[in-house]
């Protein structure tokens, strides 16, 4: 039985094939141009990541109140202000138009799809989990093309259900969005897309700031968050602050 070709054998075969290229020979690599990156609207995050890559999947995961939705809102706001049309696939119908407006999102450029799952509506002929509908809708939107950002919000989908999304589905989404100017952002409680995501960010809440004395009259002032890049792995982390919509005065962190 023949022994399998080792790496050295393969290189020598390729080297002889590309001998005319000189010392480049077997080290010839097909290099892809770096994808264009867009700002998230938060300078600290941009500094850490260089922006979100177009034509790729970006995952932002974290627990409740970690700042995922606010980061997504900031990114959508920047995109709609660039006059891009964006789409939000809202699995559990949690999107707040008022928060979005306060963040600067142009609602007229944001397609909002609310996935309801099982329903008694006459047009619904089968019962499906909202996550299944959300995945199907995301696939259609990505395949249709033309959106600057397609955001899939799985933030409130229990991990045990979200994990049922097969890797094949994520591969399909990655293939669909490759070589397009669109960005697919997935908001979730834990990373799901594995190798299919080009950028994976973990976000956590570090501190909550309150303004004023204890009730009555106290206000939620804002929160401080920490963001780390899990893919590609980056040793540094970013910290940024988010403020409540009614905050006016400067407040010290601490």
């Amino acid at each position: 039985m023949q022994s399998p070709l080792g790496k050295t054998d393969l290189e020598s075969v390729l080297g002889s094939h590309f001998a005319g290229l000189g010392r480049l020979g077997v080290h010839l690599e097909l290099s892809r141009p770096a994808p264009e990156r867009v700002s998230t609207g938060i300078a600290e995050v941009d500094a850490l990541t260089g922006g979100l890559p177009r034509g790729a999947i970006t995952e932002i995961f974290g627990p409740a109140s970690s700042g995922r939705t606010s980061l997504l809102a900031a990114t959508l706001a920047r995109a709609t202000q660039r006059s891009e049309v964006c789409a939000l696939v809202d699995t559990n119908n949690t999107f707040d138009p008022l928060s979005a407006t306060q963040a600067g999102i142009d609602l007229g450029r944001l397609l909002w799809v609310r996935c309801a799952g099982a329903s008694d509506g006459p047009h619904r002929r089968w019962k499906t989990h909202p996550a299944e509908q959300a995945l199907q809708v995301t696939d259609w939107l990505v395949q249709g093309g033309g959106f600057g950002i397609v955001a899939l919000d799985l933030g409130d989908v229990p991990p045990r259900i979200a994990r049922r999304i097969s890797l094949t589905s994520w591969f399909r989404l990655r293939r669909a969005i490759e070589n397009t100017p669109s960005i697919l952002i997935v908001i979730e409680q834990e990373p799901l897309a594995k190798t299919c995501a080009s950028l994976v960010l973990e976000i956590q809440k570090e501190k909550t700031n309150w303004a004023g004395r204890l009730c009555p009259g106290r206000l939620l002032d804002g929160t401080l968050h920490r963001l780390a890049a899990r893919k590609p792995v980056h040793s540094a982390a970013a910290a940024f602050a988010l403020r409540a919509a009614w905050t006016g005065k400067q407040t010290a962190v601490g």
């Binding site: 409740a64 997504l72 891009e84 047009h123 809440k205 910290a239």
Partner: protein, 510 residues
Amino acid sequence: MFACLHAPDLPDSSHALLIHCACGFSPRVEDTGAQTAVLDIEGLDRLLGSPRQIAEAMARRAGELGIQANVAVASNPDAAVHAARGFRGITVIPKGLEASVLASLPVEILSPPPEILETLKSWGIRHFGDLAALPEAGVAARLGAEGVRLHKLARGAGERALAPAIPAATFEAGIELEHPVALLEPLSFLLARLLGELLEKVEARGLAVDELRLRLTLEPRGEDWEAGRTPAESALPETDGGDLLQGKSRRAGCGERSGILRPSKISMEHARTLRLPFPMRSAKTFLKLLASDLETHPPQAPVIAVSLAAVPADPRLVQYGFFLPPAPEPEKLELTLGRIRKLVGAENVGAAELLDTHRPQAFRIRPLAVPQRSHALGRRLSGRFPKKDAGEASAAKAQNASTAEPGSLAEASFSETDRSSPHRFLALRVFRPPLRAHVEAPLGRPERIVAQGLHAPVISLAGPWRSSGDWWTAGGWSRDEWDVALSDGAIYRVYLDRLSGVWFVEGYYD
């Protein structure tokens, strides 16, 4: 040459008959109003002969239709109209003799404004000839532009063009079937054929389609029922997949299977209207939208005739550019949205729009309208928005790369920059509907929250913040809001509905 038909005794209800009579001689007919129609008879001499013969033919035809009309022929529409209104019977005015022929007509036929008519009468001007004999400069000085116009008409010199009525274009196509069709696939073939016919006519006129109206005539249902099945059900083949008739609708109208005759409640016609977000011409898009709509709203019986009508509109003009931001192709987007609507419901797809009220969660969802590209280009060029983000992001990364230490947190604080950035707001994720909660508040402040999926003590809180509104209507509301941080690390917004005394969890900040 122009001819005018004037029927002074014609009732208003028969005016259409007069127009119909005129259309029998020429396709270019102007509805001048007041029992009058003017038509272009250029070229009719080859058919009917001299202008007098043409006029006689028209008078004869009008008589056959029961219309007593005066007919006049002249070289311009105005002279023909005045002659028909002023002279009974048939009048033919040779070219160049308009002034002399019309001279004896009273000036009232010109329909001058009352003040000008009074002035003319005070001058002793009674007829066309009297007015035509006045010097034009004097008429202009005393009666103005209107006087000059009347002076010209009195001379029989008209310059206006005929304004023929253009019949409204109708685009309809239909087909009757030899055998009833109960499946979507063969119906799609028929629709494709009808769409092809319609779009050919629409495109020939340089138009596009704004709305499609589909009318399916359904097979009538008999009242002699077999035991357990209706005749329609017995006649239908057993099918699965692609069947227009769902089990539910097939049984609809059957009533009880006891043999008791009940009148069928199924309509014999199934009508659907497809309103498009913008005028289109793509047969492929129309077919997919119609098929999707029929899958969602299928007819309740087999189809025996199909009729399709298109409402035309001016085609959409789009200015493309190399440097504009990406946007979905409208036709492709409409197809995608059609599929999404079918899956999640039309009411769950669109763009949100806040309503002008303080009521919480007051918004509506309207269809997404992709903004005009030209507006987007204008805003980019005005410098109103930040420069290209790729450059900004890279610059920020380069600037901080040299200062950030590995493993350390970049320093962050609430700064002027943070306050000025419009994107750094804490967003709320809402629960729809709000979660009903049991809140322990022995001192008037929430200390423990219990709701679906939530059971934790309150670590820190802010509030209460009271809001209310619409108290002058039946739908008034009033609530006390609290922002509470629970032991699970999340920050929730809870509120007490002061009208019902019930606590709710509205959502959490994320």
